[in-house]
Amino acid sequence: MIFKHIEELYSYRNLIWQLAWSDFKLRYKNSMLGYLWSLLEPLLMLLVLYLVFTNLMKNQIEHYQLFLFIGIILWGFLSRATNAGMFSIVEKANIVKKIYFPRDIFVISSCITALLMSIFESVVFAMFMVFYRIPVSINLVYAPLILLFLCIISLGLSLALSALNVFYKDVQFIWQVLLQIGFYLTPIIYTIEIFPKNLQKFVLLNPIARIIISARNTIIYSSPAKMEDLLFMLLSSIVFLFIGYIIFSKLESRFAEEI
């Protein structure tokens, strides 16, 4: 059943890519300047947070600019992918009502669009790495795996959100609030150590927290990812995708009527 669906999706790979690529182009209005503008937001955020936290808070984190940047990029991807994914069905109402193909194609392609958007930030990040002469080690091999988990979690969330957004108009506002709360409950601008010892284990229940911590360790600090973290990420990405998919397929049959 699942394999059959994956096979079907594979046969639509060209469509998924076309939708993702055209959305990407539309977002930047086909101009190089558009791409550059999109970098401004995360860079500005990086600058402000960096100035605030190094000068006012006097924190002692090593390579704080990179520490911060990686958190902003990864959290930015999650926020972008889920926001684009949430509207992927609603925005494509004219297609949904006129032709059939598996509807999760819209969600998958919107997540790919978000991924494309994050690539530019990653390039700038790589330039930072070179500029600050950060050595990379063999432990970098964990990074793609960690990113894959993040993508799967984002897809699972997007599937659920896109389906719910068809039926409930306030899902978008609720999700914005949750994302905002999540930003501060996740060690993005600070290390996990600022949480009291007994609360840290609750913070680590959030798979995104583990993803960001592991990504930092493997990319900036040249240390291997912890097996416990990898397992937790694997498990939670399966759970997120599974639940998201269940919600999506339960509601999918009524999309064309409700939009």
Binding site: N14, L15, Q18, L19, S22, K25, L26, K29, N30, K92, N94, I95, V96, K97, K98, I99, Y100, F101, L164, F167, Y168, K169, D170, V171, I174, S253, R254, A256, E257
Partner: protein, 407 residues
């Protein structure tokens, strides 16, 4: 082998009295289940379409035609029953699905062709042909938003016809565009027919249905009225045979007439000497059924009911036919046809037999009058009756001119 098999298909839409569109409303109303109205859009539909066959689906607005087509296309799910298709479906429910105004013509063709199920290599091979066929070579890198709607339709159409359909679902696509475009559509449809493509065709254009479809399904308010040979079904549809849809359109006509009557009474003084009153006019088709819709080139009878309040000698009955815009197309009376009526008294009727309706399509208005030989009117109903003519040929215009080509 059956390409499409529809069995006991039902579709019910649940229409909530008060729609809950937010999580908040849903949570607060959890103990107070919402009230629903069930709307049965389709009721027990059964048919099969054999491979290479063309099925027409006709019916009034709201009879469930498009819903049925959407269910076959898998866009909507049936509430009960099943639809089985054995081949690849290509729906033409709308042209240009997924067009993005901010992308160029070439980019849009790529996306649209992909949506329509074409493979990447095929698209790359055909893209210039598609743009050329639409006559837009010069504008291939122009953004779609700068195109006229005609250009957009042309682009969508030339893309859509590049798909290689096995089962084609068509919904009123032909209704848009000018004559030339409609002609192109017809040619493509004919070609698909020749190639043995299975076609399901929903249309109000009965002429097109008659030309292209082997079988026709007539729906009325979600129920399958009749399925069969196209000619028979169209006759049944046009001439009603007592179906409700026809009655409703008659009622509309009546109310229209009543409205006109009120107006004319207000405007014009009662200058008719109502010694003879025209009480009603009815139209009869070739099966002697009353109706207001006729196939072009079919026979028709106009029956004028009168009530002579006293014995009148030598009255003249006349009619005048108008187009919907009020142009006088034809007029005649009993005097001109050298028919003399000795005398009439009391209630009765007179028939005007039309052997062959020469009009091709449109709504026509009829004026009916009764007067003396020296034009002194007894009664006069100006353009108060109307009927529709449904095309059965491909010629254009209002009237058929009998003619032949010769080289």
């Amino acid at each position: 082998m059956a390409a499409i098999e529809v069995e006991h298909l039902h579709k019910t839409f649940r229409i909530p009295h008060e729609k809950r569109t937010t999580v908040f409303e849903t949570l607060t109303g959890a103990f107070n289940p919402p009230m629903y109205e069930n709307f049965h859009a389709l009721n027990d539909i059964n048919f099969t379409v054999e491979e290479g066959e063309a099925l027409g689906i006709i019916g009034e607005n709201g009879s469930g035609k498009s819903t049925l087509l959407k269910i076959i296309a898998k866009i909507l799910r049936p509430s009960a029953g099943s639809v089985t298709t054995t081949k690849k479906l290509t729906p033409f429910l709308e042209l240009g699905v997924g067009f993005q105004p901010n992308l160029t013509a070439a980019e849009n063709v790529k996306i649209y062709a992909t949506i329509m199920g074409m493979q990447k290599r095929e698209i790359n091979d055909k893209i210039y042909g598609i743009i050329e066929f639409a006559g837009l070579e010069k504008f291939k890198d122009t953004k779609l938003k700068n195109f006229s709607s005609g250009m957009q339709v042309r682009l969508a159409f030339s893309t859509a016809i590049q798909t290689d359909p096995e089962i084609l679902l068509m919904d009123e696509v032909l209704a848009v565009g000018d004559m030339e475009f409609q002609q192109k559509c017809m040619d493509v449809l004919s070609q698909y027919r020749k190639d043995g493509v299975t076609i399901v065709f929903v249309s109000h254009d009965l002429g097109a249905v008659r030309r292209f479809c082997d079988k026709t399904l007539l729906l009325n308010k979600g129920k399958q009225v009749v399925l069969g040979n196209t000619g028979e079904v169209l006759d049944r549809y046009v001439y009603g045979g007592g179906n409700e849809a026809l009655n409703s359109s008659e009622k509309q006509n009546e109310s229209k007439i009543a409205e006109i009557e009120v107006k004319s009474e207000n405007k014009t003084p009662m200058w008719e000497d109502k010694e003879i009153e025209i009480t009603n006019v009815e139209f009869y088709d070739k099966f002697d059924n009353k109706g207001a819709r006729f196939n072009s080139f079919d026979p028709m009878t106009v029956r004028i009911f009168y009530n002579a309040h006293k014995k009148i000698y030598d009255p003249v009955f006349g009619i005048a036919l108008y187009s919907e815009n009020g142009e006088n197309l034809f007029g005649t009376n009993t005097e001109l046809k050298k028919v003399s009526i000795d005398s009439i008294e009391g209630k009765g009727h007179i028939d005007l037999l039309i052997e062959r309706i020469p009009m091709i399509t449109g709504r026509f208005l009829l004026t009916v009058a009764v007067h003396t030989h020296d034009q002194k009117p007894y009664d006069w109903h100006d353009k108060q009756y109307s009927f529709d003519v449904i095309p059965t040929c491909r010629d254009a215009g209002i009237f058929e001119v009998p003619c032949n080509w010769k080289i």
